[in-house]
């Protein structure tokens, strides 16, 4: 017992000694960005931002969690940024719950969500789904319960009076189902969004949505904790300028999807697009 006591105290002393050398996490050079692992476009953009800011002498920490958890954490003034807010449709409800967040920039303009089928399936509109419910086994393969897209899909099932059930598990399970179905040339309908690498990897199409349940084009935006702009005016400027066009986004997503080391790939991408990055970093 005696030795244990000494061991315990020595560990405590070491812990407190290092405690003071660690520095405060709200230190102006430490930036935390929340990220939803599995959202290809969010992962890609976050890693690009990290690569750029690390070069500028910041220390970016990526925190992986789910959307609501990240928003709650930003609302508490803890996490600095989140680059994956879809507006005006998908995340409007979630954002309304957290009034203490600041919009600081738009990263991408042509986001789209909806129901997706492989190209070989001869169905083009959500209204035709009921005629083919047996081929689709009356199932729409969804993503996580609680996602904005999941909610919209439930709404679509009601409004189009679809004789279908949405099956929810996770994004990656949805993609796995889709890949398996395409390999076997089976019929499948899933909930999907663009930009996403699955559109470059597989031949897919969105189903027409005449009732506009899934809205029109969506923007992907960066949100920050309330006083971020005050604490880091130069970074708020940078994020207001950061913007990907379709070509850059598709190129980045493809490279990220094929890469084993996302940080290294993002670094390479930043080096290849130095002109674009210079525009973003421009102080004027």
């Amino acid at each position: 017992m005696k030795q244990l006591k000494y061991l315990f105290f020595s560990i405590l002393i070491v812990a407190f000694a290092t405690l003071n050398s660690c520095g405060n996490i709200k230190n102006s050079k430490y930036i935390t960005i929340g990220m939803v692992d599995g959202w290809a476009e969010d992962v890609a953009m976050t890693h690009v931002a990290k690569a750029i800011l690390d070069q500028q002498g910041y220390h970016v920490i990526i925190q992986k969690a789910s959307t609501d958890m990240i928003l709650a954490s930003m609302n508490n003034e803890d996490t600095d940024l989140f680059m994956g807010v879809w507006l005006p449709y998908t995340h409007a409800k979630k954002l309304a719950k957290f009034p203490g967040l600041a919009h600081i920039g738009t990263n991408y303009d042509n986001g789209r969500i909806g129901l997706v089928v492989p190209e070989y399936v001869p169905v083009n509109s959500i209204e035709e789904l009921n005629q083919h419910k047996d081929q689709f086994n009356q199932r729409i393969i969804g993503i996580e319960k609680g996602a904005g897209l999941t909610y919209e899909t439930d709404q679509a099932i009601i409004d189009y009076k679809l004789d279908y059930k949405q099956i929810n598990s996770s994004t990656i399970a949805m993609i796995t189902e889709l890949q398996n179905a395409i390999q076997r040339k089976q019929w499948i309908v899933v909930t999907g969004w663009q930009p996403h690498w699955m559109f470059s990897k597989m031949k897919l199409k969105f189903l027409n949505d005449p009732k506009k349940i899934f809205g029109e084009a969506e923007q992907i935006k960066t949100y920050a904790r309330k006083s971020f702009g005050k604490d880091h005016p130069e970074l708020a400027k940078f994020f207001s300028k950061l913007h990907f066009d379709d070509e850059n986004m598709a190129d980045l997503l493809m490279k990220m999807e094929q890469s084993k080391n996302k940080e290294a790939t993002a670094k390479e991408w930043v080096e290849e697009h130095s002109e674009l990055i210079q525009l973003w970093l421009d102080k004027n």
Binding site: I11, V14, A15, F16, A17, T18, L19, S21, C22, I25, G34, D37, G38, Q63, K64, A65, S66, M69, I70, A72, S73, N76, D78, T79, S170, T171, I172, I175, T176
Partner: protein, 275 residues
């Protein structure tokens, strides 16, 4: 579904009230927790890997015999060679702090439950609740109180891992033969002396088993804590799952298993030595 009784609403109100009014307290806890986890992590990551492997191997040799020592050395070397050393050390730091905190809270609670019937009646249903409530549910208040990061991960882990230590402490003390306690009392021992010199030493084996269970439970919670940015192996496992990366998922999962075997055998060694 019509709701006739809305219990969730009251829970939500209570949690929201705590979030609003407890902020200063939570911030202090967050700061202390963050510094201690980061501090231990810093030590573990910056100590050369062979020193740590040697330390655990010697500990295993001393407490659990030659076979386990070989397994420890081989297992930790494998983790290092798979390139998951840093994550494993992060996980170890999180487990260390969570387990230690859980024990500081749960062993006194266990003693209290053994000594007082009223305390036992209150603590027991609480433990039932803590053990059966799905572990994911703890993540919600954890994030509301402490945001995302290591501290909410530790918080959820502590709640999840505490019950066996409490239960087994109570069990151990209740199982101390009454005549020994009577004899000690006859020799004029105070309550305090009876507790520290008679009951706790005799119950030590059962208490150590509780500690062993707490360590293993906290290890199983680490992966779930990875969902709220607690880092370490849990995050790697989830990364493997979220990117369909079978190799990474297996490697990080294997690292968790290796860590579990080593920690289990070494703590069991402490139990066996007590016989």
């Amino acid at each position: 579904m019509n709701k006739t009784i809305d219990i969730g609403q009251y829970v939500e109100t209570a949690i929201n009230w705590l979030t609003e009014n407890g902020k200063p307290v939570f911030d202090v806890i967050k700061h202390i927790g963050n510094s201690s986890i980061m501090g231990i992590e810093w030590v573990l990551v910056n100590t050369p890997f062979y020193v740590i492997i040697l330390f655990f191997t010697l500990l295993a040799l001393w407490k659990a015999g030659k076979g386990i020592a070989v397994v420890t050395a081989a297992g930790l070397s494998l983790i290092f060679l798979m390139g998951l050393w840093k994550e494993t050390m992060e996980t170890l730091a999180l487990i260390f702090v969570s387990t230690l905190t859980a024990l500081i809270i749960s062993i006194p609670l266990g003693i209290l439950a053994a000594k007082s019937t009223i305390a036992d009646k209150i603590i027991r249903p609480l433990l039932d609740l803590m053990q059966t409530m799905p572990a994911f549910v703890y993540l919600i208040p954890a994030v509301l109180f402490f945001s995302i990061g290591k501290v909410p991960g530790a918080f959820a882990t502590i709640i999840f891992a505490m019950p066996p230590a409490v239960r087994l402490t109570t069990l151990g003390i209740e199982a101390v033969p009454k005549d020994i306690v009577e004899a000690a009392r006859a020799f004029g021992a105070t309550n305090r002396q009876i507790l520290f010199k008679v009951e706790l030493p005799l119950a030590m084996k059962t208490i150590l088993t509780g500690i062993n269970q707490t360590i293993l439970l906290s290890l199983s919670m680490v992966v779930i804590a990875g969902m709220i940015a607690a880092g370490g192996l849990g995050e790697k496992v989830l990364e493997g799952i979220n990117n369909l990366d079978i190799g990474l998922g297996f490697e990080s999962g294997l690292s968790v298993v290796i860590l579990a075997i080593i920690l289990d055998r070494i703590t069991q060694g402490f139990v066996k030595k007590k016989q």
